[in-house]
């Protein structure tokens, strides 16, 4: 039970442990005791009619149990957050880190939003109990669950008109079942709405193939990938980026893959492409169709070549015609088509990015389906049968319809759970005004957000880490969402609420059975309040028993399987056989014809970290730099460099965007690689009621989304741009954009052909001189790291994992602007610049046009290099930083007095200094008034329950102290202690120590281990001809080797 072991051994759920319980003196087993204790507590609580009552499932420690469940040791729970399987690391029963579950078979990977969900749990701006909001008056009065429930029930009984439950798309089978029963029994209509949805690509699929299951592409099997605005690295939930990375190394099994991307905005996905062709969003469909034309009509390839309607439809997309509108040369289109045909069986094309949300989005998605279909990709191993769950139609068009019904007074009750349409619906939908017409609006969101502010009641639901629930996963799996902590506030999970209210509204079956098990209602008043977590718990057990396990709860068979589901975090759902895939000839009509584009078009894309803005009060996400622009906090409109220079703009100059009648003032940003005629702006910002941290950060780009003919458009929007002459400085976490690698060989990179000629290509650098220092002896372990830049896609999940693991504070936008950022590991993003002979390169701050118009993007994770001859160690007068005998450059916070000499002398600038007191709120009222920064920092880092997020293994640093990456020394020491305890004398197996960054890295780019152990992976990587240790010239001898980023230049 020590260190990171397989979750199988570690994931228990709360009280109902399955390990044999030792018999105590009382003769009562622990399990019995807990059961008894739980029911007594529940009964007591019921008698006192309290809402927050002790439950029988989550029992706090009173005595240390004798099994492995010890304080001071991390425990891991496999659960799901937002439909993504995760492993939650807890300490002392507090969740402290959300990591990927390495043993989970689902292909899905974590998004940064999932990682940062931990901070949402402790968010002090969550409502701490039910509130009577009294819309319009602005008064918020605490109330009780009973009051909310009773109001709802009596209203449902009396009011005439529909009752509507508005939620985000719900995938969990049990949750869906209770909603279905609510629809049938209580007549509550369910409407799904997501501001950022996948509807277009699904409707393209169904247009082409009817309701056949949609297979998932396997990028690890593709040697040639063509993306049309694909964003599988920007939006990684499906896990495509993990597969993609497997073929990025030059010596990958099956050869290095090649990725060609057509796109208008430089996305993270495009930045990882081997070749990138700038095509504005509105022309992507035409370009894809032109390639399809080459394959189907010219080369007469695939079954569609005989489909006359398709041939006719594609004839409109002759390369010459497409060249005219899109600017992509016919030669290139023909070459790409030729390359696809040559790589048939190994080639796949992808779309699915923000560009698909434009007017031509359906055509774009269809064109990629046509190409894949013609290449026979769907019948090859390039697509596997593991289908993504079919989504519920959830686009804002649904919301517009609901708004109409609200306006017409047809809806008498509106229950909103987990969505925020007042903030994120297209303005045309007019939702806010429509909602005001509804007699009873009940919000189940977690705070008084924009939508809840217009509700009558707010009954806050729990965080996913606090409540039972379930979810459907990709790859034919379902999973239980198990709570890892008792609710911090007077809240209940959505499923609890639905089951309790459902039972009260007369649903029988499992719902009633679950309620019967969880409580004995003594009065209608109590029935109106969710009883506890047990309602959802028993409901889940019952439903799952029926549906999947085919066993009744309580039988030993059931309990074994149930425990296994909780431990492993998944259950294979027998995949229903869908209808056979058959091409529908009607699809061809949807392709349209090449259209000229507006003079200037706008793309609104989901924010990389904040996504749709639902977690916009999360300091980690707000401070997470966009991987490409490196902008934190406030958003900016991306403008192509040449246009930007022609307009005479500076980063941060406010420009006015006009789309239709909507206007927005946004800071401008010179975004390398943008198509000249395209702008881009991130969604998910500009929340007005997110909380103290996230309010009024950036602008709400949803205000520019268009709703026409039942379709929401976020790309290809006609836009005009005007300088305002005002400024709003941006918080950009990056110095120079550009690196001149001939002069500063700091990022090893080369091309595949050069690599084949010389495996050391790209690692050349000036040699260092002899060292005056005696060599260190590393008698035992010597910890080292290798980072494969070919695999690193720059997503920055390492940064976020590190922030959680190591208690790194959030410094705020002004902190970033002032250069007080704190991340221990950051991703440096450079645009590779060719050598400019005879010119001096101090002006490359923003990058010369030639470099940034068609940028070659390089990502380089930068963290403490744990140098052998660390320059920081010699200069600290207090001996606060020193070398350990296992190769760590240690920082001793207690000794640090803060001369910052070490940070100056660090050539990598990875040392971080506590410029302010971030860890607690300083008490002086006078200074808090004089220096608002004190208050801001406290709000972001230590307000309310925020301090509970801290990892107890890692010191919380005070003001005036230097800090930096420790290689997660706490995990190293834990592994060493375990080795000693087990009598292994410091022999730690390779892979037993994983720093948080490595653990979070979806692509396996980071390898950590003992370099003295010749069999370790890191020793092998460090010996690779691709390995380069930075700044040899200075003689610092880093412990981190970077492996060259190889770009596949094969034509």
């Amino acid at each position: 039970m020590m260190g990171r072991k397989a979750p199988e051994h570690e994931a228990h759920r709360g009280g109902d442990g399955q390990a044999p319980e030792p018999e105590g003196d009382s003769g009562l087993s622990r399990r019995d005791f807990m059961r008894l204790g739980g029911s007594v507590a529940a009964a007591t609580a019921l008698a006192s009619a309290g809402c927050q009552m002790p439950t029988e499932e989550v029992v706090p420690f009173n005595q240390r149990p004798e099994d492995g469940n010890q304080l001071g040791r991390p425990r891991f729970y496999a659960t799901v957050v937002a439909g993504i399987p995760v492993l939650t690391r807890t300490r002392e029963n507090r969740p402290i880190l959300v990591t990927p579950n390495p043993k989970h078979p689902s292909p899905q990977s974590l998004t940064v939003g999932t990682q940062a969900a931990l901070l949402d749990l402790y968010d002090p701006d969550r409502a701490s109990g039910p509130l009577s909001v009294r819309r319009g008056e602005g008064a918020v009065v605490p109330t009780s669950w009973e009051a909310v429930g009773q109001t709802l029930f009596s209203h449902l009984k009396e009011a005439k008109g529909d009752a509507v439950l508005l939620t985000p798309p719900i995938t969990g089978p049990a949750t869906r079942q209770v909603i279905k029963e609510l629809e049938q029994v209580a007549g509550i209509r369910h409407v799904s709405y997501a501001s950022i949805d996948d509807d277009v690509s699904w409707s393209a699929w169904t247009t082409a193939f009817g309701h056949a299951p949609r297979p998932r592409p396997r990028l690890d099997r593709a040697s040639f990938i063509v993306g049309f605005g694909a964003e599988f690295i920007d939006r990684p939930a499906e896990g495509l980026e993990r597969d993609f990375a497997q073929r990025r190394a030059p010596d990958a099994a099956g050869g290095m893959g090649q990725f060609l991307q057509f796109e208008g905005r430089l996305t993270l996905t495009g930045a990882n492409a081997d070749r990138r062709v700038r095509v504005r969003d509105s022309q992507l469909a035409a370009v894809a169709c032109a390639i399809a034309h080459e394959i189907v009509v010219v080369q007469r390839h695939g079954s569609l070549a005989d489909d006359e309607t398709m041939v006719q439809a594609l004839k409109a997309f002759e390369p010459a015609a497409v060249t005219k509108t899109s600017g992509v040369s016919a030669e290139l289109l023909q070459a790409v088509a030729g390359q696809l045909l040559a790589a048939k069986g190994n080639a796949v094309v992808l779309a699915g990015g923000s560009a698909s949300q434009g007017a031509t989005g359906l055509a774009l998605e269809l064109a990629t389906i046509v190409i894949n279909h013609s290449l026979g990709a769907y019948d090859s191993p390039l697509f596997d049968r593991w289908a993504a769950p079919a989504p519920v139609a959830a686009s804002a068009a649904v919301l517009a319809k609901l708004a109409e019904q609200l306006q017409a007074g047809k809806v008498s009750t509106l229950i909103i759970a987990g969505t925020n349409p007042v903030y994120d619906a297209p303005p045309r939908a007019g939702f806010a005004a429509a909602m005001a017409k509804c007699p009873l609006v009940l919000s189940l969101n977690d705070r008084v957000d924009e939508t809840s502010a217009g509700a009558d009641w707010l009954a806050p639901t729990s965080h996913p880490l606090e409540a039972w629930g379930d979810a459907q996963l990709h790859g034919g799996m379902v999973a239980i969402q198990q709570p890892v902590i008792r609710p911090l506030h007077d809240t209940y999970g959505l499923l609890d609420v639905l089951v309790t209210w459902g039972a009260a509204l007369g649903i029988g079956g499992e719902v009633a059975a679950a309620m019967a098990k969880s409580q004995t209602p003594t009065s209608p008043a109590q029935a109106a309040a969710p009883t506890s977590q047990s309602a959802a718990y028993h409901f889940l057990r019952g439903t799952w028993g029926d549906r999947y396990l085919q066993k009744k709860p309580g039988t030993p068979d059931f309990e074994d399987i149930w425990s296994e589901v909780l431990r492993k975090g998944h259950w294979h759902e027998p995949t229903p056989e869908g209808p056979e895939r058959a091409w529908s000839p009607a699809a061809a009509a949807q392709l349209g014809a090449p259209q000229p584009s507006p003079a200037l078009e706008l793309q609104l894309y989901p924010h990389f970290a904040l996504h749709d803005g639902s977690s916009a009060n999360n300091g980690w996400l707000l401070e997470m730099p966009d991987p490409v622009t490196r902008i934190t906090w406030d958003g900016a409109v991306s403008i192509a460099p040449r246009r930007f220079d022609e307009l005479g703009l500076e980063n941060g100059d406010l420009v006015e965007l006009t789309v239709g009648s909507a206007k927005l003032d946004v800071p401008a940003y010179r975004h390398a690689g943008m198509h000249h005629d395209q702008l881009a702006l991130a969604l998910g910002q500009g929340r007005s009621r997110a909380g103290l941290v996230g309010n009024d950060i950036g602008v709400n780009a949803f205000a520019l989304t268009q709703l026409e003919g039942g379709q929401v458009t976020r790309a290809g929007l006609e836009v005009t741009l005007r300088k305002t002459g005002r400024r709003a400085p941006l918080a950009i976490m990056q110095g120079s954009e550009v690196i001149d690698r001939d002069r500063r060989p700091l990022v090893p990179t080369t091309t595949l052909s050069q690599y084949r000629a010389n495996p050391r290509a790209g690692t050349e650098q000036p040699p260092g001189g002899p060292s005056a220092w005696p060599e260190h002896a590393y008698p035992g372990n010597r910890w080292a790291m290798a980072i494969d830049l070919s695999k690193c896609n720059g997503c920055g999940k390492c940064t976020l994992a590190c922030q959680g693991e190591n208690n790194i504070p959030v410094v705020g936008p002004q902190g970033i602007r002032n250069g007080r950022e704190m991340p221990w590991i950051r991703i440096d993003r450079y645009y590779d610049s060719p050598h400019k002979d005879g010119r001096w390169d101090a002006e490359v701050w923003d990058g010369p046009l030639a470099v940034v118009e068609e940028p070659v993007t390089l990502f380089e994770p930068m963290l403490c290099q744990h140098c052998e001859n660390a320059p920081c160690e010699t200069v600290c007068p207090f001996n606060a930083t020193m070398h350990s005998e296992d190769g760590l450059n240690q920082q001793i916070y207690n000794r640090c007095v803060g001369t910052r000499y070490c940070a100056n002398n660090c050539p990598f600038k990875v040392r971080r200094y506590n410029w302010f007191e971030y860890s607690y709120r300083q008490s002086s009222t006078l200074f808090r008034r004089l220096f608002p920064v004190i208050e801001d920092n406290a709000n972001r880092n230590s307000r309310g329950k925020l301090a509970l997020k801290n990892n107890p293994e890692v010191t919380v640093r005070s003001r005036g102290v230097m800090e930096k990456c420790t290689f997660c020394v706490q995990r190293i020491r834990e592994a060493r202690a375990e080795a000693l305890r087990e009598g292994r004398k410091g022999s730690i197996p390779d892979g037993a120590v994983m720093p948080a960054c490595m653990e979070a890295c979806p692509t396996g780019a980071i390898v950590f281990g003992d370099i003295n152990d010749q069999s370790s992976q890191v020793a092998a990587s460090a010996k690779s001809p691709r390995a380069m240790r930075l700044l040899e010239l200075t003689g610092v001898k880093p412990a981190i080797s970077y492996l060259t980023k190889v770009r596949n230049d094969n034509a």
Binding site: P877, S958, T1034
Partner: protein, 491 residues
């Protein structure tokens, strides 16, 4: 011979009669050649008695209005320093402009600036003493006081720049209960502690020993018993006996010999803070001499600034004559050229080293975003002193005053250039940044001037600003001993 010099000393009544060169009398030499007579150090036909009266008077009468105004102003600035430091200590260093990558800014710039100012005093009193430069006598006392106060100003910066200044005492190596944990003797910052504290202590001792005979003079003139008692205690009961004088002279000589190497060691070691690092722009072997020369340069400029004011406010024009000021102007010219030479050598070395990073940092210094500061530095330190090739300007009080202030501005910017431009763009372009001084950067700089002027104004109020005993030693006894004043003689 004596008659000529006697008459010369007696008749040079003010600056306008001084030429800056020897007085040449054709055919008056002992062998018939020209006779060259040095111009007098003290003009106005002053007597020994006058020296006591002129110099002690300021300590004996109620201060004049101008002193009070200046003192009030200095105290206000000192208050600004206090408020700034309280804010700094409570809120943290986030309130000033330093950041990553410019982790050192205002504090270290001011530290090196003040340490540099603190160089001229000891150089004037010790080095010039050993070289028997008699003109030093008029200025050595106040120059040394300036040194002490500048060192005091400099001394606060390494402490306030710490993140946790309340642990500053950990910098001293003494047996402790923290392990015991010793300081890191590899770090140039720990060398600084020794260098600065030694320099401060030796300078103080040297200055104080030099003060003893003059304190006794003040005591002897004192009428109030308390005043007499205090100055007697301060003068260690100086008797003025031959024995006392003999011991005094030996001690002074020995202390001068002690202080002389320190003049060079302090700034050498301060320069090691930069030179022993690996940062391009800092990592340079030229730094020790470059810093020492720069320090002398700035120190002399500060002495000129102060002396020009002092001689006019306290009417000391007969003691601090134009000849003195011209001599200092020559030092400025010489050290200014050396500093200019160092600047160009840096560029040469950056190119000659072949290191991309070194080459970049110097180009960036001159032409990058902080090029303006390099321009100010270069103009003030290299171009402005060139006017001192012209005697007319060396002897013009307004020109001297303005040029000296410009040199001080330039030298402040030299440290700014070294600290800020080297740090703001180093090895990894991703971590490049900028440094903007905030209100508190400026208030602490201004406040340090407040501290300096407060101390200096107290000094001129309570202690003799010119070394009377030494000035008497360079006066012509034949003139000075005469009891009759020139007016009486004429009458």
């Amino acid at each position: 011979m004596t008659t000529h010099s006697e008459s010369l000393y007696a008749t040079v009544m003010d600056d306008s009669q001084l030429t800056g060169g020897p007085v040449v009398r054709e055919g008056a030499g002992p062998y018939g050649g020209d006779e060259e007579i040095a111009e007098p150090m003290v003009t106005g036909g002053k007597k020994y008695r006058d020296v006591d009266q002129d110099i002690c008077a300021h300590t004996e009468q109620f201060p004049m209005r101008r002193w009070w105004i200046a003192f009030g102003f200095a105290l206000t600035l000192l208050g600004v320093l206090g408020v700034s430091l309280i804010s700094l200590f409570y809120v943290g260093e986030g309130i000033v402009g330093i950041n990553s990558p410019v982790n050192w800014g205002t504090f270290i710039v001011n530290f090196v600036f003040w340490i540099g100012i603190g160089h001229a005093g000891t150089l004037i009193s010790a080095v010039l003493f050993l070289f028997r430069q008699k003109w030093r006598t008029a200025i050595n006392r106040s120059a040394e006081a300036m040194t002490l106060f500048a060192v005091a100003c400099a001394g606060i910066f390494p402490i306030i720049h710490l993140g946790r200044p309340w642990f500053a005492y950990w910098l001293f190596p003494y047996p402790n209960d923290r392990g015991p944990l010793w300081i890191n003797f590899n770090s140039a910052l720990s060398w600084d502690i020794f260098a600065i504290s030694t320099y401060g202590l030796v300078s103080l001792t040297f200055w104080y020993v030099g003060l003893l005979p003059d304190l006794a003079t003040v005591r002897d003139r004192a009428t109030h018993p308390w005043r007499k008692w205090i100055y007697n205690a301060l003068s260690f009961g100086w008797t003025g006996s031959h024995r006392a004088w003999r011991h005094y002279e030996s001690a002074y000589l020995i202390l001068a010999a002690f202080a002389t190497p320190l003049v060079f060691s302090v700034h050498t070691i301060v320069s090691f803070d930069f030179a022993t690092s690996i940062m391009p722009g800092w990592h340079a072997t030229i730094f020790p001499p470059y810093f020492v020369i720069g320090a002398i340069f700035s120190g002399f400029a500060m002495v000129i600034t102060l002396m020009v004011i002092m001689r006019s406010v306290f009417n000391l024009k007969h003691y601090i004559t134009l000849n003195h000021l011209e001599a200092m102007a020559k030092v400025i010219l010489f050290t200014g050229m050396l500093v200019g030479f160092a600047y160009s050598t840096e560029f040469f070395m950056a190119w000659y080293s072949g290191s991309e990073y070194e080459g970049f940092i110097f180009k960036n210094r001159a032409f990058g975003p902080y090029g303006w500061s390099y321009f100010i530095m270069f103009t003030c330190n290299v171009i402005v002193p060139q006017i001192f090739w012209f005697k007319r300007f060396r002897r013009s009080i307004p020109v001297l005053f303005v040029a000296a202030i410009l040199v001080n501005v330039g030298m402040w910017f030299e440290r700014y250039v070294i600290v800020v431009t080297s740090l703001h763009r180093d090895f990894l372009p991703s971590s490049w940044g900028m440094y903007d001084m905030t209100f508190f950067d400026w208030s602490i700089l201004a406040g340090s001037f407040g501290l300096f002027f407060t101390l200096f104004l107290l000094f001129v109020r309570f202690l003799p600003v010119i070394a009377m005993s030494e000035v008497k030693g360079v006066m012509d006894p034949k003139v000075a001993r005469s009891t009759a004043t020139p007016e009486e003689k004429a009458a």
